[in-house]
Symmetry: C2
Subunit: 211 residues, 2 copies
DNA sequence: GGGCAATTGTGAACAATGTAACACAATGCC
DNA sequence: GGCATTGTGTTACATTGTTCACAATTGCCC
């Protein structure tokens, strides 16, 4: 499968989108070239780390000059698979799910929510944004026919694992999980958890002395 | 200040809330005692790591038996500062901000949003949930008088850094940032970023081969 | 009340990650 | 066209994080 991938550390992959974002911003500001030094200042990290991260994937910079912003952006987008459009489906159209569907930050980055599901009879058939809410039974069909790669989970904690199991069965390979659980998935499926409560709970460790 | 804190690695602090959550669940399931083995199965991690993490803070288990769930929970809540209530204010009552205010996941964990701010004249004075939207000029007063420790940022990227600067000036020590930027803050201020787009963009790296 | 099975806490080995050092390619100035 | 400057790519080193292995302790059972 990923035989030719000389095992890039996951932390590195997690930082690449940061670079993409910073570079996009610099490009909009009209810059053409950037050094690892300058980029590091923006992102509050050492130039050495940026250079090392990038060197996992190739040689993108010119000694004495720095990196062509346009070129590096293209390369990074290619590496991350951000060139085409990614189709996602959402499960759970409660308050949170509706907010996610209406969130305007996904589309400009190439992520489109193309279907919404809910297990509740009351929700099925209603409209959220310009999506019709479908029953869970349609999931496998939609995933395969429409070509959905990503599942977004916005159901209560108690149902999250079940929903995730069904997404995986349907062939979904990436899951963005908003439910407050640490889900189990088989190898080969990528999960990213969005959990503001966990973030707050680790924050308070550092705050508690000065409350 | 934290002189007696023998430098606990941040990764460890990030995992503690996971333990709290798993233990809470186990407690609800009626269990009294849990071993690092069992806890590790739940959380998909090695027992050794759990024991090591906990050992940074003390000796909570009984050899041959495991950990008293109730006792360990109390200790962890104490360590993380989760015993009392934390008051937060929110800046930016657009779609995202409104969704955050209406999110029901914070209150049960002891986090209360007690004030909402917006820089737009149109928004000031309107109500979101049961909060009245205030002008930014009220920020320092509210933070100090009401005792707000946490700021939640839900403004567009372009305004995020400015808003964060003002929160910090007002004396806020912890920031939960929903804006798609990597903000700068002075030492002593803790930031946690919630950024689903970054999560998706790092996920696609692993998905791109099988799209 | 003593042996046994279970499970902790922890130092030491190992692995991963981050930082610093540096040789040298490209550039531009005089 | 030399020469100083800049900033990469890479290797070597330092730090941080994870896993292992086992002595020490506990509670149970007979």
């Amino acid at each position: 499968m990923n035989v030719m991938q000389p095992e890039v550390p996951e932390v590195v992959v997690l930082r690449l989108p940061l670079y993409v974002r910073a570079l996009t911003q610099l490009e909009r500001e009209g810059m053409n070239v950037v050094s690892s030094q300058q980029l590091g200042e923006r992102l509050q990290m050492t130039p050495a780390q940026i250079r090392k991260d990038l060197s996992y994937f190739g040689r993108f910079g010119k000694q004495g000059r720095g990196y062509s912003i346009q070129f590096l952006l293209e390369e990074l987008r290619e590496i991350l698979g951000l060139t085409g459009e990614w189709r996602a489906c959402l499960v759970g159209v409660g308050r949170l799910g509706r907010a996610i569907i209406n969130y305007t930050g996904f589309a400009p980055e190439g992520f489109t929510i193309v279907a919404a599901f809910d297990s509740s009879e009351n929700q099925v058939g209603t409209a959220v944004g310009d999506l019709a809410v479908r029953p869970m039974s349609h999931l496998p069909y939609v995933v395969n026919e429409v070509g959905v790669s990503i599942g977004i989970v916005a159901v209560p904690a108690a149902q999250a694992q079940t929903v995730i199991d069904r997404l995986v069965e349907s062939g979904i390979k990436g899951i963005l999980n908003y439910a407050p659980v640490a889900p189990y998935v088989p190898r080969g499926v990528v999960v990213r958890n969005i959990d503001p409560v966990l973030s707050l709970q680790s924050m308070t460790f550092y705050l508690k002395n000065e409350r």
